[in-house]
């Protein structure tokens, strides 16, 4: 990722799903950002909303990018477990556009619900009409949210909006809020077909 080498002095606009997530996080919250990338969300939350917390990231270049911008980051594979972060230690735990690349998706979500009162997840919506169209045309879909060929994709567990909502229900996680983006713009109608990204905030029970 080229943006991992960006100097902290350049304040680039947040990725649209992160900008939306940031609006859902209360002032002064303690935040754990899983798969935090270059730390852009935590950097924004700390500057604009007085939040504190840590990023968790496994990739060397992204860990370095976080240190460069002064975001506290723990180098760790989130699938190795979140036990070190302590139960209920955070107000909000975020996992943006990374759940689909986890091996033990169910375990990750269950652990998220332990570590904070509120979880926020953004996922690519595999049910987007273009994906269906692409498959009808005999091709695996390649899109802005999933810019990979079938042979080099890190994505393992892709879901549609309906799949994911059923999954949350099965894990006894209640949806607090949801939002849908189509190419970075909020949409309301026919999200199952039109959304490229879905964002959920949830809590236990």
């Amino acid at each position: 990722m080229s943006d991992t080498t960006t100097r902290p002095t350049q304040q680039l606009p947040l990725r649209p799903d992160l900008a939306l997530i940031a609006q859902w996080i209360p002032q002064g919250a303690r935040v754990l950002d899983l798969g935090c990338g270059d730390g852009a969300l935590l950097d924004y939350l700390s500057r604009e909303r007085g939040c504190t917390g840590y990023g968790v990231e496994i990739d060397d270049a992204r860990v370095l990018a976080c240190v460069r911008r002064g975001v506290d980051v723990i180098q760790r594979d989130i699938e190795a477990g979140l036990g070190m972060f302590g139960a209920g230690a955070f107000d909000v735990v975020v996992l943006s556009m990374a759940l689909q690349a986890t091996h033990q998706t169910e375990k990750v979500l269950a652990e998220m619900s332990q570590v904070a009162a509120q979880g926020i997840v953004s996922i690519p919506n595999f049910g987007h009409w273009y994906h269906a169209w692409s498959i009808l045309m005999g091709r695996m879909p390649v899109s802005r949210e999933m810019p990979y060929q079938w042979y080099d994709t890190p994505n393992l567990h892709l879901a549609t909006v309906r799949d994911f909502e059923e999954f949350l229900a099965r894990l006894e996680l209640s949806i607090i809020r949801r939002a849908f983006l189509a190419n970075g713009q909020p949409i309301a109608r026919l999200p199952g077909l039109r959304a490229t990204q879905a964002i959920y905030s949830f809590r236990r029970g």
Binding site: Y54, D60, V63, L64, C66, V67, R68, G70, D72, V73, I74, Q75, R76, M84, F85, G86, A89
Partner: protein, 387 residues
């Protein structure tokens, strides 16, 4: 490039220093070096704490010996990750060491003879208190950072809880919150090698004009094994045989207990080199300081309770192939800091060199330290503006 020659300096302390053991030491000296210049408000001082066999000579070329380059010269210096164009860096030789500060080889004022085995057992905390006194004398109220690797990292951790107000950042690399039974076991083997050497003479070998060289050599060989990874040893030496004219064919065994394998030759060389310059009593003292370090001991084993006293922000780093102080040991520190709600970043460096990696150049490792210190330098500059 290294800066011009560095002159070691010396400060004498008259007031007795109470030690963890209950003993005290008065009239002692600390040897130290400094690199770079203090800024106007004195906010750019960095203390570098040394590990088992190192000294105050952290960086640059010693004024006493042009071949003597500091032990962390790849880390500290102009343009290095800890950039001495921005930071005023201090290296100090610990009490009990054999590189100039008062230790077992020094004359005990009470007897007029070397302390030898009578030098009091010192702990990591004792060192930190003595370093704080040095800081007082140098007029440093608060360090921008206290940093160290291995045993040096333990000192940095101890600083963060003993003098919370006196450091803004704590950098502990390839360190551990306490030794494991295995770590202590290796130390004990090393100590037994020294203590049972007939030339040790109960620690009074100076009086006999000898050195327990064989014991020191074995101690160093054992230690050295724990500093390297299995992989790096395999890559560097493998099962390669030492060249020897007595072999009928290259690669033939000689069926002897003399040096056969390259690794044996290397360890013996390291042992012999070490025994020529290191003091046996110091080796005992420093390994014991390692054994005793356990800041959670008086908190029912709860490290987070102890680290909760700290005000500093922490950078913790470990190396994947380090089995002496493995990444799990650093994660214990990180977990305690998380529980205590302290600011912490943790980097787990993928490096092949085992424990020694903290002394070597690795692009990711040095980039992390460099970036972290760039942030500290920016804070120093901001703090200076506010004054």
């Amino acid at each position: 490039m290294t800066a011009s020659a560095v002159e070691p300096q010396r400060i004498r302390f008259d007031a007795p220093l109470a030690l963890s053991s209950g003993a005290s030491i008065s009239d002692y000296e600390l040897v130290y070096e400094t690199y770079g210049e203090p800024n106007a408000d004195g906010s750019n001082a960095v203390l570098v704490c040394h590990a088992l066999n190192a000294s105050h000579h952290v960086a640059g070329v010693s004024s006493l010996d042009p071949d003597d380059i500091g032990w962390w010269d790849n880390m500290v210096g102009p343009g290095k990750p800890v950039d001495t164009r921005r930071f005023f860096v201090i290296g100090v030789n610990n009490l009990g060491s054999c590189f100039g500060s008062t230790g077992p080889m020094s004359i005990n004022p009470a007897t007029g003879k070397p302390y030898g085995p009578d030098f009091p057992v010192v702990t990591v905390e004792d060192w930190v208190h003595s370093q704080a006194r040095l800081a007082d004398r140098l007029g440093i109220d608060r360090f921008a950072a206290v940093m160290g690797g291995s045993l040096g990292g333990m000192q940095a951790l101890a600083w963060s809880t003993l003098y919370p107000e006196r450091l803004r950042h704590c950098v502990a690399i390839a360190s551990a919150p306490r030794l494991s039974a295995q770590n202590i076991a290796f130390n004990e083997v090393a100590r037994r090698a020294i203590l049972t050497d007939p030339e040790f003479h109960g620690g009074r070998f100076y009086d006999h004009g000898v050195v327990p060289s064989r014991g020191l050599q074995v101690a160093r060989m054992i230690g050295h094994i724990t500093y390297l990874s299995d992989d790096s040893m395999a890559e560097k030496f493998g099962r390669a045989l030492r060249d020897n004219a007595e072999r009928a064919q290259p690669g033939d065994y000689r069926f002897t207990f003399d040096v056969e394998f390259e690794i044996e030759s290397y360890l013996r060389y390291q042992g012999e080199k070490f025994a020529r310059y290191f003091d046996a009593n110091t080796y005992l003292l420093i390994t014991r300081a390692l054994d005793y370090f356990d800041p959670a001991r008086h908190a029912g084993g709860d490290l987070s309770q102890v680290l909760g006293k700290a005000h500093a922000a922490f950078l913790i780093a470990s190396f994947t192939t380090d089995w002496r102080f493995a990444p799990e040991r650093s994660r214990e520190i990180v977990q305690a800091l998380l529980k205590a709600g302290r600011r912490v970043s943790y980097a787990e460096i993928n490096a092949p060199h085992g424990h020694d990696a903290f002394l070597l150049e690795d692009p990711q490792y040095h980039a992390i330290i460099r970036s972290y210190f760039e942030r500290i330098a920016a804070e120093c500059a901001a703090g200076g503006d506010r004054e």
